[in-house]
């Protein structure tokens, strides 16, 4: 059982840390739609666009995308595991 969970976490780390370098930089479907129609002119700058990890980089340097990805994996795993563990029904057997 543990093996499966460790394997699953490892796959996520690998995707966010390594495969992320091969992601397409083109706009996604919604971004493409708002760009092509001019709606994007109304888009506002993200309040945290100057943040250290903004746009999955480190200080704007996207050579560190993998690092940002690994950080994201750790943060999401920590938050979600914590939340779901607190929410769970406690088993009577243990």
């Amino acid at each position: 059982m543990k093996k499966f969970f460790i394997g699953f976490a490892f796959v996520s780390l690998l995707i966010a840390g390594v495969l992320s370098y091969f992601a397409s930089g083109d706009p996604d479907g919604l971004d493409k739609t708002v760009e092509d129609t001019g709606i994007a002119e109304h888009a506002q700058e993200h309040p945290f666009s100057g943040g250290m990890f903004a746009d999955y980089a480190l200080g704007g340097d996207d050579r560190f995308t993998g690092l940002a990805g690994v950080l994201g994996v750790v943060v999401v795993l920590g938050l979600s595991f914590g939340l779901f563990w607190v929410l769970r029904k406690k088993s009577d057997a243990r």
Partner: protein, 228 residues
């Protein structure tokens, strides 16, 4: 599919924030029944996996890409309520830590991707459950269709929201055509990723696939846990 701030007007953004808070609150209450010592860690891993895979934009046309939304994937693996929470956590971390998806747009983004997408994907998956229980091919097909619908309906969420309170006054038909056309292609990618992921989990740990619970399935030799 993460909206920036400013694409929708302020009143609509507030309404969608209320919708998101209500929906996530409902999911928080209902999720408890689906979480135990075994499924809680699985749920954390599903959220993590959705985050990781969302980083991988795949090309769909020259100059356009798409990425997984993950609602159907999460709902099939951990149920609709926990699944909606998984996608919500991902969207919140993306907006706060990576400046991906606006802050006033967070309600809209949660509504579209975590609530509409997950609910749509799950309803399709449940409607087709008997095919999913037949084996790997059936499960893959059900996962694909659920994920495709999840993508198209999440995209439709934006179309409807833009029609109600979008900035710029672009003709709604034009927005709808672009959104649906592009997301039909992205939905194929979403379907493939979801099918591969769900069948991989099912072949190793069929007991951890929420959709297969409580039904006689062709998966694995381990008896499925009877839920009390």
């Amino acid at each position: 599919m993460h909206m920036s701030d400013g694409l929708l007007n302020a009143p609509l953004s507030v309404v969608l924030l209320v919708v998101a808070v209500a929906g996530v609150g409902f999911a928080l209450v209902k999720a408890r029944a689906d979480l135990d010592d075994r499924t809680a860690p699985m749920a954390g891993l599903v959220a993590t996996f959705v985050f990781a895979v969302q980083m991988i934009n795949f090309p769909i046309l020259p100059g356009a890409s798409g990425h997984l939304l993950g609602g159907a994937l999460a709902a099939i693996l951990v149920g609709p309520y926990v699944g909606a929470l998984c996608v919500t956590i991902v969207l919140v971390v993306q907006a706060l830590l990576f400046a991906d998806g606006g802050l006033t747009a967070l309600g809209a983004n949660i509504t579209n991707m975590a609530l509409i997408g997950t609910a749509a994907g799950f309803l399709v998956a449940v409607a087709l459950r008997r095919f999913a229980a037949k084996g790997k091919g059936g499960l893959a097909a059900v996962a694909f269709v659920s994920a495709f619908v999840n993508t198209l309906l999440a995209a439709t969420g934006f179309v409807v929201e833009y029609a109600i309170g979008g900035a710029g006054g672009v003709e709604i038909g034009k927005v709808a055509l672009l959104m649906w056309g592009l997301h039909a292609l992205i939905g194929i990618g979403e379907g493939l990723i979801t099918a591969v992921t769900v069948t991989s989990v099912a072949s190793i740990r069929p007991d951890l696939v929420h959709l297969l619970k409580g039904s006689n399935t062709a998966f694995g030799s381990k008896p499925l846990e009877v839920r009390s």
